[in-house]
Symmetry: C2
Subunit: 199 residues, 2 copies
């Protein structure tokens, strides 16, 4: 015998399919779950099922939500003229944590990536254009990641939205607050120089 009982093997395989989880970690997680009380393991299985079954994308901003409209889009106090475009639902949370941004969001659920066969139709670009066309959007902040794919997506979107004559902005580049200059890479430092501000 060089394998565990079939139900155990299937659980290990299920964990091993997750990103960043190798065979050894998958075994450790599977045995942890096997050691859980029955109800807790059930709750874990239900959490997976429920997350899949009860999560929808907000019909306005495409963020994940359990209602038709997400809490942010439904909030009457938010500035509806500003839309911050992000790649991922987690990025929305990063902005919300600043407690400074009061506009709405648009979640693309990915970035353009020809290498991975992700084209404009594979992410929520059509929905963004529709929003800009239908609603009173004054500014679109392109807040995709500052990497090659994020840049390319921002460039693509900026060209696509140009005809609407609205303000299109991109997040500022520069040195991170609390960082050490000696650890800042050359490109970031160059951008920080270019974007230097009058005191």
């Amino acid at each position: 015998m060089d394998y565990f009982a079939p139900p155990v093997e299937r659980l290990i395989e299920a964990f091993a399919r997750l990103p960043g989880i190798g065979q050894k970690t998958a075994q450790r997680l599977a045995f942890y779950v096997l050691d859980l009380p029955r109800e807790e393991a059930e709750r874990f299985a239900d959490a997976i099922r429920d997350a899949k079954a009860k999560t929808f994308t907000c019909k306005c901003c495409q963020n994940l939500t359990d209602s038709e409209l997400c809490p942010i889009c439904a909030d009457p106090l938010r500035d509806r003229q500003t839309v911050c475009v992000v790649a991922d639902p987690r990025d929305v949370l990063a902005f919300e944590r600043t407690k400074e941004y009061k506009g709405l969001y648009h979640v693309l659920h990915g970035t353009l990536s020809p290498m991975n066969h992700v084209g404009p139709d594979d992410i929520r670009i059509r929905e963004l254009v529709q929003r800009v066309a239908d609603e009173d959007v004054q500014e679109v902040i392109l807040a995709t990641n500052p990497d090659t794919e994020g840049e390319a997506t921002a460039m693509y979107l900026s060209r696509l939205l140009q005809p609407f004559g609205i303000r299109i902005t991109r997040l500022a580049y520069g040195i991170p607050v609390g960082g050490h200059l000696e650890f800042v890479d050359e490109i970031t430092l160059t951008r920080a120089l270019e974007g230097r501000l009058e005191l």
Copy 2:
């Protein structure tokens, strides 16, 4: 809003409860599961449920199995007089990989650990004593880990089994095959010296 939709939050929490999985990794895993096709997520949930519901401990060796008797205990070709005592089902696999051990096993499902309130009644010690008493066991190999708790458990078991007058052995200590002497710790090297063999 500083949280995800409730079903998403519950899934993140479920992952974050796993050992060695922090909040960030839990988020990454949860979003990976959310991106899976419906059937695959269902299969994952089923794997958890099934592993819990369809896995039992072998009535003989206490290893995890999906039948009353595990494949090893049910194998008529194994040497039934030798029992290798291990702490964890994963250790059984380690021995099976050697393809050298032909005896049976006994899985304790833990080691004695007063610090963590694990006493003799919390692991499968009673079942081991019962086996030695009822069956024709000639040798018990104590193969718990070579750490404090594993040693203490081996010591405890050896005293407990002494009255049966059978052979009680412990795995040999020494330098690992393929290792470098300079990286071997003093205690291991001392043990390797003590246990040196005539060539």
